[in-house]
Symmetry: C2
Subunit: 418 residues, 2 copies
C-alpha cells in the first residue's frame, strides 16, 4: 500500500489513521445518534457528507441512512456500498484533496471525538462465543480437568462455540455491577449465594456479519469473508465461581450473561488487509468443509490494562490475535454448516486470546493461575481477580511500517453489586 497523508491532524500513535476509517454510531449534545467514521481526534459525520452530495455516485443510498440508531441498515446495503463509502471518505481526507477541506460544511462534518458519546454500533440479533485459542483451552483444561489431557477430544476437529446473551452487550464506557449468584466451592457442603468472588475479564475480538443467509444454507470458508463486515474488541466478562458451579452439562449461563463489553468502532476487514497472515498449522487435518484456500488470520496486537480506583493503569497482558488456532472463515463455515441462518449485525467473539507466555494470557484466571499467583499492579496493589472500583481497559492495534490501524479501546468500570 502506498503511503497516504491527510489534511486532518493525526496525533502520534493514533489508532484512527487515514488507513483505518472505522464505522460507529455516535451522538453529542447537539446531534441525535448517527453514523460516523473516526479519523484522528475527529469523527466524520457521514450524514453531512451525504446531505452535501459527496456520495452522489451511490444513487441507491437512502436519504436518512446515516441518521439511524444502528449501522444495521447501512451494513445491509452490502460491501460494494460500504466499501465505496469508506473509499470516498478516504479520498476526501487526502492531503491534496480540497473538496471537503475547503468546503463550507467542513466544520459541521468534522465532529470532536472528545465531545461525542459512542453508542452500540449495531443492534445485535444473535451473539456467539467461540473458544478458538489453543493456549487458552489448554490452560483452562489443565486447571480444571487434567494437565495430561488438557484439550478435549473434539477441540482440534471443530471450532467449539456456544450461544451467548445479546441483550447485555454494552459499549465501552458503560459501567457494570458485580453479579450475584450461586457458587459451590469444593470445600462447601451446599451452594451459597452472594456477589461473585471471582470476577474476571476475557480478552477477545469479535466480528460482525454484514450479509444474512436463509435457513438451510451454509457458507463455505471461501465465501465467509464476504459475510464479515468488521471487528471490535470484546470483553467477555465472566464470574468464575458462578460459571464453575453451573456449566455442566449445558455450558456457561449466568457466569457470562450479566455483561459483555465492546469497543464502539467497527474496524472493517478492508482496513485489516495489510495485516493478514497464515494461522498456526492445524494437525490433524481438518474435515474438507473447514479447509481454507487463503489466509484468514491477522497480526493484531492486543493489550489489557487494569486501573484500580484512584490509581494509574497497569498493563497485565500483551497478546496477539494471530495466535488463534481456528480462524474466522472456519468459525463462520462451521456455524452455518448445519443450515443455521445468520443476520446482519450478529456478533461472533473469538474466545479468550491467550499466547504461549504467561504475560500473554487473556484472563485473570490464567494470568494469576487460579488465584495462586497474584498480579503486582504496582503502588502496593495486587490482584487475583477484578475488584470493585477497578476499570478494565482493552486496546488493540496493528502496525506495519508506516501503517497503523487500531480499535481504540473498550473501557469498563466495575461497580459493587446492585
Amino acid at each position: 500500500m502506498s503511503q497516504l497523508s491527510t489534511w486532518v491532524q493525526i496525533p502520534n500513535n493514533s489508532d484512527f489513521t487515514i488507513y483505518n476509517l472505522p464505522f460507529g454510531i455516535f451522538q453529542n449534545k447537539r446531534l441525535s445518534p448517527r453514523a460516523g467514521m473516526a479519523i484522528g481526534d475527529k469523527i466524520v459525520d457521514l450524514s453531512v457528507l451525504h446531505q452535501e452530495g459527496f456520495f452522489a455516485e451511490l444513487s441507491q443510498l437512502p436519504t436518512d441512512i446515516f441518521v439511524r440508531a444502528s449501522l444495521n441498515d447501512l451494513i445491509a446495503l452490502g460491501k460494494p456500498v460500504t466499501r465505496k463509502i469508506r473509499e470516498k471518505v478516504q479520498e476526501l481526507l487526502l492531503a491534496d484533496n480540497e473538496s471537503l477541506r475547503e468546503h463550507q460544511c467542513r466544520g459541521k462534518a468534522m465532529v470532536n471525538r472528545k465531545e461525542a458519546k459512542m453508542l452500540m454500533p449495531v443492534q445485535i440479533g444473535d451473539y456467539t462465543d467461540f473458544y478458538s485459542s489453543i493456549e487458552h483451552a489448554t490452560n483452562v483444561g489443565s486447571m480444571f480437568r487434567d494437565p495430561e489431557n488438557a484439550l478435549l477430544p473434539n477441540w482440534k476437529h471443530l471450532p467449539v462455540g456456544y450461544h451467548g446473551r445479546a441483550s447485555s452487550i454494552i459499549p465501552s464506557g458503560v459501567p457494570i455491577h458485580r453479579p450475584k449468584g450461586q457458587y459451590k466451592d469444593p470445600h462447601m457442603e451446599a451452594p451459597e449465594f452472594g456477589p461473585s468472588r471471582r470476577l474476571d475479564f476475557e480478552l477477545e475480538l469479535a466480528f460482525v456479519t454484514g450479509k444474512s443467509t436463509k435457513m438451510g444454507d451454509s457458507i463455505s470458508t471461501s465465501d465467509a469473508e464476504d459475510h464479515i463486515f468488521g471487528f471490535v474488541l470484546f470483553n467477555d466478562w465472566s464470574a468464575r465461581d458462578i460459571q464453575a458451579w453451573e456449566y455442566v452439562p449445558l455450558g456457561p449461563f449466568l457466569g457470562k450473561n450479566f455483561a459483555s463489553s465492546i469497543s464502539p468502532w467497527i474496524v472493517t476487514l478492508e482496513a485489516l488487509e495489510p495485516f493478514r497472515l497464515s494461522g498456526p498449522k492445524q494437525d490433524p487435518q481438518v474435515l474438507p468443509y473447514l479447509a481454507c484456500k487463503k489466509d484468514h488470520s491477522f497480526d493484531l496486537n492486543l493489550e489489557v490494562y487494569i486501573q484500580p480506583e484512584g490509581k494509574s493503569e497497569s498493563r497485565v497482558c500483551i497478546s496477539n490475535f494471530k495466535h488463534m488456532y481456528w480462524n474466522i472463515a472456519q468459525q463462520l463455515a462451521h456455524h452455518t454448516v448445519n443450515g443455521c441462518n445468520i443476520n446482519v449485525g450478529d456478533l461472533y467473539a473469538s474466545g479468550t486470546i491467550s499466547g504461549k507466555t504467561p504475560d500473554s494470557f487473556g484472563s485473570m484466571l490464567e494470568l494469576a493461575w487460579k488465584g495462586t499467583k497474584p498480579l503486582d499492579l504496582g503502588e502496593g496493589v495486587f490482584r487475583k481477580f477484578i475488584e470493585d472500583g477497578d476499570t478494565v481497559i482493552m486496546r488493540g492495534f496493528a502496525q506495519k511500517d508506516q501503517i497503523r490501524v487500531g480499535f481504540g479501546e473498550v473501557n469498563t468500570k466495575v461497580l459493587p453489586t446492585k
Copy 2:
C-alpha cells in the same frame, strides 16, 4: 369461573374457546400481517375492532398498534392494556352481546382461520432453553453418564439453562431441512461429516416475556409472572449425533441451532389461571431467591404425533407440563439474579417435558431409548429417530369441567438435507 357462552360457533374440542383468546400475527391474501385473536375457526382482526372504536376506553392505544408485523409493541404496552383488550374481546363475543354480533363490520372483523397464514407472533431478541424436567434430566443422565448418579450435583439447586439461537426459531407449518454436521460415534477413529443420522424432537413449552428490565436488576419469584405474557408450544429440534460430539465443555451448539419450531398463538397467563397448581416438592430446599410464595405450575396436557409421508399420524407421547421440577417464576428469578437484563419478546423454553412413564417421555432419544426400542407407528412403520418426510406435530390443551384452553399445534415437516 362461571360458564360463558359465545355467539361464535365453536367446534367440539376446539382449543380456541371463549376462555382462551390467544394473541397471534396472521396474514391472508387480502390482509397484510396484523394482530389477531383466535376463536373457534375464526380470527378476530383486532385492527378492525380498533378502527370501529371498540377499544375507545384504552385512550393510549396507537392507531396502527394492531397492524405491525409482530406483537412486541403491543405487549410492551403492559399487562393492564393487553388484559383489557382480551377482556373487551371476550365481552364482545358473549352470546348476549349484540354490539359486534350485529355490527356492519362483523364480516370484516371475523376472518377465517383456514385462509390465514400464521407468522411468528413476536420478534425474539434472546432465546433461553432450560432443562427443568427431572425425568428428562434423569433419563439423559442415565443413558450418557451414570444411571446411579444420573442427576448432576447442581441440578436440584438451580434451574440449569443455556442460551440458544433466536434467528432459527420458526412458526408451525414451516418445513426444516435435515442438518449436516460432524459426528464421532464411539466406534469411529475420527469424526465424520454428513447429514445427521439421529434427528430428534424435544417436546417443550416456552414463555414470552412482556416487560423488560435494566442491566443489574433482578426479578423476584413473586414478581416474575408480571413479566410473563404467555406461552407457546416449542419443538426444540435436536441432532443427537452432532450434539454428542460437540457439547463438552460449552454446551449444545450446532446440534440445536439449525431450527426450533413454535405454535403461533400466544396463550396468555390469564387464560391458564384455572389450571394453576403446585409443582413437585423440591428437596433439598432451594436457596431463598428461588423460594416461591404461590403456585406457578400448570396442568397442561401435551402430546406428540409423528406422521410419516403418505401415512396417518400416530401419537408417540402423552405428557403434562405439571411434571416440571422447576417452575417459570424460578426460571425467570434465576435468569436475572445476576443482573442479566431481559426484553419484551424474549423466549424461554422449559426443556424437554418428560413424565414418569415411558409413553410420557418427550423426545425420541428417550421414547426409543437411544435407538434400542424402536417405536411402532402402525402400518408397518417403525422409528428410532425422525426420518425425511416425517411430520412432527405437538399439541397441548388444558381442560377443567367445561373450560378448555389449548395451544393449537406446532406442525413441522422434515425435508432431506439441502
